[in-house]
């Protein structure tokens, strides 16, 4: 309807006339667009900011490559990661380097290093994501409960908050890697143990962050305004305080992915990871490369570089998300 006058009017002659006609059409189109496709939510604004940050784009590219490799890697690798394809070429103190057949050379047992590296990405991604999810879920549950209890107030609420937070302090008192080691050692050698260990080590950060964020939000004006309109306390906490407190926690999840990858590799490196040492994993590969360090140091560099680049990718992405979500920079 709004487009009709623009179409009926004959455009004035000349290039300016044509331009103005086009502009009118554009404006009419904008007016006809349903509102929900026009409005910009906070999420959308954050995404737009991320797109314009080179740091975020670099991080996202690295993460994307890593995820693609983890997903399709096992199906495109030239050799089985466990097959001793080049065993006959291995001599004591001598391992063949890169060749047309083996792009990154062979490892100490004559397995194709390139295939192993690609295959290992899957393991790393799996451990990283599951561990972060465990940490996020446990941390958000504890922190959310403590924050809600604190915000709801009352003697009981403060007591619940205190008890939960002292428990978190206990976890926080131990260095995260050490905590992960002890848990993995107690649970025995298994992939699940690594995930749980790294997840538990990440729990206190999430809990503290969410609780602190919720308490800060609970004193904001909009909470008072909602309360002044008689909105129930549960609804205030769940519908107003919680959604406003999630941003830092989500950012932390991205950053935790980076730490989780490093910690998982560290656990595998120390032999606490997957009991089947033939399955390639970057930490395990790093550990196995130690024996050949004197004559084939490059075998340690590959998995180390893979760990570092991946962790860096997640860190870059996480940091720029933090910046994009920063309310101080938001208009």
């Amino acid at each position: 309807m709004a487009t009709e006058p623009a179409q009926k009017l004959p455009p004035p002659p000349g290039p300016i006339g044509r331009w103005r006609g086009e502009r009118l059409d554009q404006l009419a189109e904008l007016a006809a667009t349903p509102p929900d496709e026009r409005g910009e939510s906070l999420t959308r604004e954050t995404l737009r900011r991320l797109r314009h940050s080179p740091m975020a784009m670099t991080g996202a590219a690295v993460v994307l490559v890593f995820v693609v490799v983890a997903l399709v890697g096992p199906y495109v690798i030239p050799y089985s990661p466990t097959a001793l394809v080049g065993l006959d070429q291995i001599r004591p103190g001598q391992i063949p380097g890169p060749s047309a057949d083996h792009w990154l050379g062979l490892d100490h047992q004559g397995r194709d290093e390139f295939s192993r590296l690609l295959f290992g990405a899957r393991q790393t991604l799996l451990v990283g994501i599951v561990a972060t999810l465990i940490g996020f879920t446990a941390g958000a549950a504890i922190g959310g409960l403590a924050g809600a209890a604190n915000a709801l107030g009352g003697r009981l609420g403060r007591w619940v908050d205190s008890v939960l937070m002292r428990f978190i302090d206990l976890l926080l008192a131990m260095p995260p890697l050490l905590l992960a080691f002890s848990i993995a050692a107690v649970l025995g050698r298994s992939l699940l143990a690594v995930m749980i260990a790294v997840g538990v080590a990440a729990t206190p950060i999430f809990a503290r962050l969410l609780r602190g964020s919720m308490i800060a939000q609970a004193h904001r004006d909009y909470v008072l305004a909602a309360t002044a309109l008689g909105v129930r306390r549960n609804r205030v906490v769940l519908g107003h305080v919680l959604p406003n407190s999630l941003a830092p926690v989500i950012v932390q999840a991205t950053l935790t992915l980076a730490t989780a990858i490093i910690e998982a590799a560290g656990l595998s490196f120390l032999g606490l990871g997957n009991p089947d040492a033939r399955i390639p994993e970057w930490g395990v590969m790093l550990a196995q490369a130690q024996a050949q360090l004197s004559f084939r140091p490059i075998l340690a560099v590959y998995p180390a570089a893979a760990i570092i680049i991946t962790a860096l990718g997640f860190t870059l992405l996480g940091e720029s998300m933090r910046e994009a979500l920063d309310p101080k920079l938001r208009r």
Partner: protein, 344 residues
């Protein structure tokens, strides 16, 4: 659980001897409100006027029960349709808030939840108090936004607070406040965060709504121009006490308390001589004398006499139901001209 406050004769809200004392460990106690009494009739607009820190907002928060539970001592009574609000249990008071009495705050951007669409925030009040289904509440919310003058309400309901202009945000908050047609609306400096042209529009909207819904309104402000334009009765507050209370015309025609005189003189005038310095009340609100020792305004008062220090002055009733708290009132002065904005 609902509680019906009965409609009955007498004032809608009767605040008597309200006091609020803040106590913090290791700190001097602060008497923010020190025995304030006033009444609000149905459909009446009452102004609470004074400088920052005189206890205006704390009075409103105490009446609505929104003060933090710890470290605060509230005394006195606030009878709302016969029920003492201060003696109610928190749950009943919460049911009353938003339905029978509602508040509009100063800063519209921080009073709206930034990550929740406007529509959700408006419907929340409707589903809470009017037991509406979500579908019905959405229709009603659009109607409310339309009523408070927000164009294209369907679209605005889906938007977030940061996508609305300041005036529109305040309109949305007003819509939320009047959603259940409360009998008492408290507006705490509703126009302070807005620019002048929007201020006038918002005040006009409040006036219209009050007339239409027969809602009583407590207007909290430091702007005498605002009270002159809309209040029926004005209470001037100083250091936690009512120092003068009068019907609007009477107050502007002949203010009795030196503080009120000072406030009226402080309004810049269009017809003042060029370059003439603006009038100011000397000192600041922090230069108060404790009321037990005498009139708190004494240190800043131009009419102070020795009797001012004889202890707290009583509220002296005068003609036309007005009252002042002063031992040396300015009973002779002619009208102090309010500012040009007063007529709005």
């Amino acid at each position: 659980m609902t509680m019906v406050v009965e409609r009955q004769a007498g004032p809608l809200l009767e605040v008597s001897d309200l006091s609020v004392v803040f106590r913090r460990r290791g700190q001097r106690e602060v008497r923010a409100v020190d025995g304030i009494s006033f009444t609000v009739d149905s459909g009446e607009v009452v102004g609470l006027v004074g400088e920052s820190g005189c206890g205006k907002s704390v009075t409103a928060l105490a009446v609505t029960g929104l003060l933090p539970p710890r470290g605060v001592e509230v005394g006195g009574q606030a009878r709302f349709g016969g029920t003492d609000l201060l003696a109610l249990d928190p749950r009943t008071r919460r049911d009353l808030r938003g339905r029978e009495l509602a508040m509009v705050f100063q800063d519209p951007i921080s009073s709206l939840n930034p990550v929740v669409p406007i529509g959700v925030q408006v419907t929340e009040v409707l589903t809470r108090h009017r037991e509406m289904s979500l579908r019905a509440a959405k229709v009603e919310a659009a109607g409310l936004l339309d009523r408070v003058g927000i164009p294209d309400p369907q679209r605005r309901l889906r938007e977030y607070p940061h996508q609305l202009s300041g005036g529109m945000r305040q309109r949305a908050l007003i819509a939320m406040a009047v959603a259940c047609q409360p009998r008492l609306l408290i507006a705490d400096e509703p126009t302070t965060a807005l620019d002048v042209t929007i201020q006038a529009q918002i005040l006009e909207l409040l006036k219209e709504l009050v007339r239409e819904l027969n809602t009583a309104l407590i207007m909290i402000t430091h702007d005498l121009g605002v009270v002159a334009g809309m209040c029926d009765r004005i209470n001037v507050l100083y250091a936690g006490k009512v120092v003068e209370s009068a019907e609007r015309r009477a107050l502007f025609a002949a203010p009795h308390h030196p503080y009120t005189v000072g406030l009226l003189k402080s309004i810049p005038r269009l017809d003042a001589a060029r370059g003439e310095p603006l009038h100011a009340i000397p000192g600041s609100v922090r230069d108060v004398l404790p009321w037990q020792e005498g009139c708190a305004f004494t240190p800043r008062c131009p009419r102070r006499v020795e009797q001012c220090l004889d202890g707290p002055p009583e509220l002296t009733p005068a003609a036309d139901g007005r009252a002042y708290r002063c031992v040396n009132p300015d009973l002779t002065t002619g009208p102090v001209r309010p500012a040009a904005t007063a007529a709005s």
